[in-house]
């Protein structure tokens, strides 16, 4: 069909940092379809330069209110790698517990407050508050349990304070962990399973769109990987984290101030769906049952299903948090001090799975323990090229729909990836009633 189509979704509601969707079709030929990002999320490499190893994680955790825990832990691991700081098994478990809390929180809020309104045709979450109050309250209850994990393990829900290089400055009490376990089992788990039911009911509204791509995530032989492991590509298999630059291959494009990334193909996918595709066999039966109930199958190539994979992960995070708490208590909580005596100075590289996908931090320290070089590759930057490729395939497939329907499908696509665009600033805009 010969058709002209011009879509421009300008997202200017934030003071700085926004993404615009641009689609341009002339005489039925798609000339342009992309998400342009108008803020470089690469500012902080300069901010950590010259800072000591005690400060790096504090600064990086404040880059973003939503991704703070992921940045903080990934920063700590890079520093420990650079300075040769060994950590204990207890530290490792406590960090995994923190990541589970942050992942559950982000995944649940995304599913309820961004994806569900789309599936219900509601435009935003606000009309749903009146009609689905119980569901909104459920989302907030789950956020609260996730915050409790942050409060108890890291000292503060938003910007963690107790995780430092080499360990924790405070170890949670047994009673605190038991109370957390109770909340996870008695509050978060029933809410998580109800979430599966809600999403199952909405799954019919998920667009049917398939585009096979390369899926990249961490992979760990022992468990569904969030913390520690090798990089894993669905195309080429395992790659050591030390070689991350061979994976990310960042390049500059004209339409975005954020760099794009490619590995084996011209784009790749990171995030919950990539983790699911690469590691779903390592999930427990409850999470797998949740996936089956919501129609998520292994090797899923529908990017809109990223939201469903997030809900599956939330169920996993709740149950695996209980397992971690049991192990911490069974092993006996030890009042360890963080190991902060460097055994070397040099370069350290780390990678963790954060809610939006695989994250890399790479620092080089001088022999005084100050950073001389830093690099960080965030998940959203890695997904941008893949979002563009999805758009290029999607637009011709739905070209017979109305412009409004096409625009919505594209917005939903971008939202499915939950990009970290205007990281960290939320200016309240106010018009006074005269």
């Amino acid at each position: 069909m010969s058709r002209d189509l011009n879509i421009k979704v300008h997202h200017l509601t934030r003071v700085e940092g926004h993404g615009n969707i641009v689609v341009n079709m002339k005489d039925g030929v798609l000339e342009k379809a992309h998400l342009s990002i108008v803020e470089p999320p690469r500012f902080f490499e300069a901010m950590v330069k010259g800072r000591s190893f005690h400060e790096a994680a504090i600064i990086t955790s404040r880059i973003c209110g939503i991704c703070s825990l992921g940045h903080q832990l990934t920063s700590l691991v890079a520093t420990e790698d650079a300075l040769g700081l060994e950590i204990s098994e207890q530290t490792r478990l406590l960090r995994k517990l923190l990541i589970h809390g942050a992942t559950m929180q982000s995944n649940i809020l995304h599913a309820y407050f961004l994806a569900a309104p789309d599936f219900l045709g509601a435009g935003s979450v606000f009309p749903l508050i009146a009609t689905h109050k119980d569901v909104v309250l459920r989302a907030l209850r789950m956020k609260r349990v996730a915050n409790d994990i942050g409060d108890i393990v890291s000292g503060r829900a938003v910007h963690p304070i107790t995780p430092v290089p080499g360990g924790f400055t405070r170890i949670p009490e047994k009673a605190e962990l038991l109370e957390l376990k109770r909340k996870l089992l008695e509050e978060a788990l029933p809410d998580g399973l109800e979430t599966v039911e809600t999403m199952k009911a909405l799954a019919g509204a998920i667009p049917q769109f398939e585009r096979e791509t390369e899926y990249i995530s961490l992979k760990n032989a022992d468990e569904y990987a969030f913390y520690e492991g090798d990089i894993f590509s669905s195309d080429s298999g395992a790659i050591p984290v030390q070689n991350y630059l061979d994976v990310t291959n960042e390049f500059v494009v004209n339409h975005s101030t954020s760099k794009h990334a490619k590995h084996n193909r011209n784009s790749y996918f990171v995030g919950a769906l990539a983790r699911w595709n690469n590691n779903s066999a390592q999930l427990g039966e409850e999470a797998l049952a949740a996936a089956a109930a919501m129609g998520l199958k292994p090797n899923c190539h529908n990017p809109y299903m990223n939201t469903i994979a997030q809900v599956v992960e939330a169920v996993h995070c709740i149950l695996d948090s209980v397992r971690i708490i049991d192990k911490l208590i069974d092993d006996g909580l030890k009042n360890e001090k963080p190991n902060q005596t460097p055994t070397r100075y040099g370069r350290g590289i780390s990678s963790n799975e954060v809610p939006r996908g695989i994250l890399f931090h790479d620092y080089t320290y001088d022999n005084k323990g100050n950073i001389i070089k830093a690099n960080c590759v965030i998940p959203t930057g890695q997904n941008l090229a893949n979002i563009d490729n999805d758009m290029l395939k999607l637009v011709p497939e739905i070209i017979n729909k109305s412009k409004a329907e096409i625009t919505l499908a594209l917005e939903m696509l971008v939202r499915a990836y939950d990009p970290c665009i205007s990281c960290s600033v939320h200016m309240l805009e106010v018009d006074f009633i005269e």
Partner: protein, 164 residues
């Protein structure tokens, strides 16, 4: 239960956006058990957790109000139209306006809720607080102290919109 809860919203790394958290720092020097202080960082949605069972809440945030930099306005949610991000592309679009609207719809807002908005000069990364906002911060500290005094002696008169 503290008599007054003060919540600072904002990112310490972004110039004048740090004014909310910095106000919390300044108030933490006051030895007052009647004051509950919360640095909410940039997780605006998290403020809803501090509304439950609270007597009086003051939120302090850098606000785009069309004033001169450092302009300070104390207002209630009903006195202002908080501009919502109607079509957020990501969770990063959920800010204070969205959190307050959600709180209102869920009937979670405390009866006595005020917002102290401070117009920023710059919210660039790695910037320090601008002079006008530094001055506004001092005024905000005074407003909170006055409010605390008012609350603790249980006066039930409510000051109207104060513009400084």
């Amino acid at each position: 239960m503290a008599a007054l809860t003060v919540i600072g919203v904002g990112n310490r790394l972004r110039g004048d956006d740090a004014v909310g958290p910095l106000l919390i720092d300044a108030l933490s020097m006051l030895p007052d058990s009647e004051l509950e202080l919360v640095d909410a960082g940039s997780d605006a949605l998290g403020i809803l957790e501090y509304f439950e069972d609270r007597r009086q809440v003051i939120i302090v945030d850098a606000c785009s109000m069309g004033r001169e930099p450092g302009g300070l306005v104390s207002f209630t949610p009903s006195q202002a139209e908080l501009v919502l991000d109607q079509d957020p592309m990501s969770l990063h679009g959920l800010g204070l306006a969205e959190a307050l609207r959600m709180g209102e719809s869920l009937h979670m807002l405390p009866k006595d809720l005020k917002i102290i908005g401070i117009e920023p000069d710059s919210i660039q990364f790695n910037a320090t607080l601008s002079q006008p906002v530094q001055r506004a911060l001092t005024i905000a500290v005074k407003i909170v102290r006055d409010e605390l005094e008012r609350v603790t002696i249980e006066l039930d008169t409510c000051s109207d919109c104060i513009e400084v």
